[in-house]
Symmetry: C2
Subunit: 149 residues, 2 copies
């Protein structure tokens, strides 16, 4: 029997977070952290709202997941994020020893792969899940932003 | 006339923060952020205390400095930190567009330069100020840690 809890299911939850960011005028990136098919942390980009460059969705979710687990390592956790992490977030994920990272859209400009960043050797990586939806939301945001300015 | 507020003066303040971390059983790294010879943010590593891999001294100080300034860019700011930033912190500093980074000890293992990380093109970089003191404190910490385990 197929499990209803597949990568697409959880990436859709991350997309809901991205949409939440969008409604706040934030670059729409969302994330959930999952362990044993259970979401233990959610987050969306809040850099403008908090006036804080460190307030990326992933950073908040790493902190929240560690709080939930009572320990700082995200062992057996999968992070679903709608955009490829940047250098900062990849560095945080490195320290967290995350087990698996799944991201939707690639970031050819600021993504960690383009910028020489690296994840922990233990971290499995998968991408492309709901890539079109995640990219479309980002494009919509930037087009609207340009038209407003 | 020489200013009393030179790089060594501010790095010594960062070292005081590192000593504070040391007394808490944290890897001793400390930081101050300075604008116009005034310290606007301080921080020390709190990853163990907070159970949070993102709680590096630099990350806290970036958030605190942005709060002080009321904006997320650390333009005209200098960060003094006792150890070369890691990939995560370099990524955060990249986003912050920090004007100048001064670090004491190099980190040949986890430092951003070794790990392909990069700062913002606008950021000036200087290192080696109070390097011996900063390294000695780190060495003392790790020797004591080994002897306790």
């Amino acid at each position: 029997m197929l499990s209803p809890f597949d990568d697409e299911y959880f990436m859709r939850k991350a997309l809901e977070e991205a949409e939440e960011a969008y409604t706040k005028g934030e670059i729409p990136v969302g994330v959930v952290v999952v362990i044993n098919n259970r979401i233990i942390a959610r987050g969306h980009n809040l850099t403008e709202t908090l006036n804080d460059v460190t307030a990326h969705a992933e950073m908040q979710a790493i902190t929240a997941a560690a709080n939930f687990l009572g320990g700082k390592y995200l062992v057996d956790c999968t992070m679903y994020v709608t955009l490829e992490p940047c250098q900062m977030c990849a560095g945080a994920l490195y320290w967290s020893q995350l087990s698996k990272l799944v991201f939707a859209a690639e970031d050819h400009q600021r993504g960690y792969r383009k910028n020489g960043g690296k994840l922990h050797p233990k971290t499995q990586i998968k991408h492309g899940i709901l890539e079109e939806e995640a990219s479309a939301l980002l494009k919509r945001f930037f087009i609207e932003k340009r038209n407003l300015n």
